[in-house]
């Protein structure tokens, strides 16, 4: 994607029928650190990589509780994500207040998508630079949605966004058929494995990732570090730096697939690096 004369405003079409500013906003999502989500019939697990700006700083919060039955993981401009989380929380509270019942997830993601679309059709606005993985439970079951800056949304069995997410997606594509009937613990294990894929050889520790779960009889909550570390140890999924052939093979194939995420990292990470 190169600079051209049609990419100054979000309200300018290109002759090929593209809105470049919206596409550039989607690039911002790819710059953020990875977030993944996967669901079974009764549970949804969200996970994200905790990447701090420097050794001196703490990492930014990327997983937010929206309501007892909905949570969201973000990748991209965390500030935009925080603002949208606040919007989602308000919508849930207002709906509960009026109807004394939880806001169905499908309704929330549509409202979110419509809000994002507005920013793609106003010359004085810019699109939100954040992708949201919305995990929620309602009467119709467990759902995982992905909301784009473009205003589109899709439902997924499992998905990954952010930098090096392709590695996680490959893992999820291999394993997703087993997710529907998986137990809650197996789902968390798969989430940790998927996160490990994005770490590319770095050791998987509970300080490097955050996991959150929502399910039937289990309100949305973020697992504490001790529990996560226990699960990592129990499943013995510490990244193998000594490199048995399998791990080395994975790393080699992950590199070329790391697309523009890798290329951008080479240029110097974007200021909003999350």
């Amino acid at each position: 994607m190169f600079r051209n004369q049609y990419d100054t405003d979000v309200t300018t079409w290109s002759p090929a029928g593209r809105l470049f500013q919206v596409e550039y906003a989607m690039e911002a999502v790819k710059q953020g650190s990875a977030a993944i989500g996967l669901r079974s019939k009764t549970h949804i697990v969200l996970g994200c990589v905790n990447k701090a700006n420097s050794e001196l700083s703490s990492h930014q919060k990327k997983i937010f509780k929206v309501d007892d039955h909905i949570g969201v993981a973000i990748a991209g401009l965390t500030a935009d994500g925080r603002v949208l989380s606040r919007y989602m929380r308000n919508e849930c509270i207002n709906y509960s207040f009026t109807y004394e019942s939880p806001l169905p997830v499908g309704r929330l993601v549509v409202q979110l998508a419509d809000k994002a679309q507005v920013c793609t059709q106003r010359s004085w606005k810019r699109p939100y630079g954040v992708g949201l993985l919305v995990a929620g439970l309602d009467e119709s079951g467990a759902h995982l949605y992905y909301n784009c800056p473009s205003g589109n949304y899709f439902e997924y069995q499992a998905f990954a966004i952010g930098s090096r997410s392709q590695a996680a997606k490959t893992y999820l594509e291999r394993r997703f058929e087993s997710f529907t009937d998986a137990s809650r613990d197996d789902l968390v294990k798969d989430a940790l494995m998927a996160i490990r894929e994005t770490l590319q050889g770095e050791t998987l520790k509970s300080s490097v990732c955050t996991i959150a779960v929502v399910g039937v009889g289990e309100p949305f909550h973020i697992l504490d570090q001790a529990t996560v570390q226990q699960m990592i140890d129990a499943f013995e999924i510490v990244g193998e730096q000594e490199g048995p052939a399998a791990a080395a093979g994975q790393e080699a194939s992950a590199e070329p697939e790391a697309e523009q995420g890798g290329a951008a990292a080479g240029e110097g990470v974007a200021p909003m690096d999350i």
């Binding site: 929380r89 308000n90 509270i93 207002n94 509960s96």
Partner: protein, 223 residues
């Protein structure tokens, strides 16, 4: 045609009484479960007590539609607080929020007479008592509602520190144990039900202490 006066009121009084007593490490909040309008009983089984936070419970008598709206409003504000602060609201914080919420409608008030009870940040029992527009005070015990005129003098007799000016010199009131406080509350409601027609049916008692919240019921006169 002579000048006509408005004869529709947006308010109604559903009667009932509420009491709260604070102890060193517990708090007892109680209310009867009778809901009435005029001389009619609407139901014998309506709870006037609402849990606002982990360690904070509110009992309200007056116009129950306004009470319900007030409870929903506070619950929503508590959710927002939890999202922003990642913790529950303390009882003193909720007390201030309730006061502000009531005064916000100073010129069309919630017809709700509230008594807030719980544990403060140090685990000591606290009771806050309100009027309809949010004037509040931290006290050791309080009662509100139709039976409060009967109940309050009795609580003063049992719980209020005697004046140092009185002769013979009396000891300050000994701190009440939790079981004694619950017993006192039961006695108080049994007496109020005798004379106040709007108080009766059943008594709901909520006790908050370090172990959590527990609920108890006692039958009262049904006439």
């Amino acid at each position: 045609m002579p000048k006509q006066q408005a004869n529709w009121s947006p308010y109604d009084n559903n009667g009932g009484s509420c009491v709260a007593v604070a102890g060193a490490d517990y708090c007892v909040i109680a209310a009867d479960t009778r809901m009435s309008t005029g001389y009619i009983i609407l139901t014998r089984d309506y709870s006037k007590i609402c849990k606002l936070a982990d360690k904070c419970v509110m009992a309200s008598s007056g116009f129950q539609a306004d009470v319900k709206a007030l409870q929903k409003h506070l619950a929503a504000r508590h959710l927002i607080y939890q999202h922003q602060h990642s913790k529950q609201m303390s009882c003193p914080a909720m007390a201030q929020l309730l006061s502000n919420t009531l005064y916000y409608k100073r010129f069309f008030p919630y017809y709700s007479f509230n008594v807030l009870g719980g544990l403060d940040n140090e685990g000591k029992g606290c009771v806050f008592t309100y009027d309809a527009v949010g004037s509040y005070e931290k006290v050791g015990y309080s009662s509100q509602g139709s039976g409060s005129t009967l109940i309050m003098p009795f609580l003063d007799n049992q719980l209020k520190s005697p004046s140092p000016l009185l002769l013979p010199v009396q000891d300050a009131v000994t701190p009440l144990a939790e079981a004694e406080a619950v017993d006192l509350v039961k006695t108080v409601f049994a007496s109020a039900s005798e004379r106040d027609i709007y108080t009766g049916d059943k008594l709901e008692i909520v006790v908050i202490n370090a172990d959590g919240i527990r609920r108890e019921y006692m039958d009262l006169r049904k006439d």
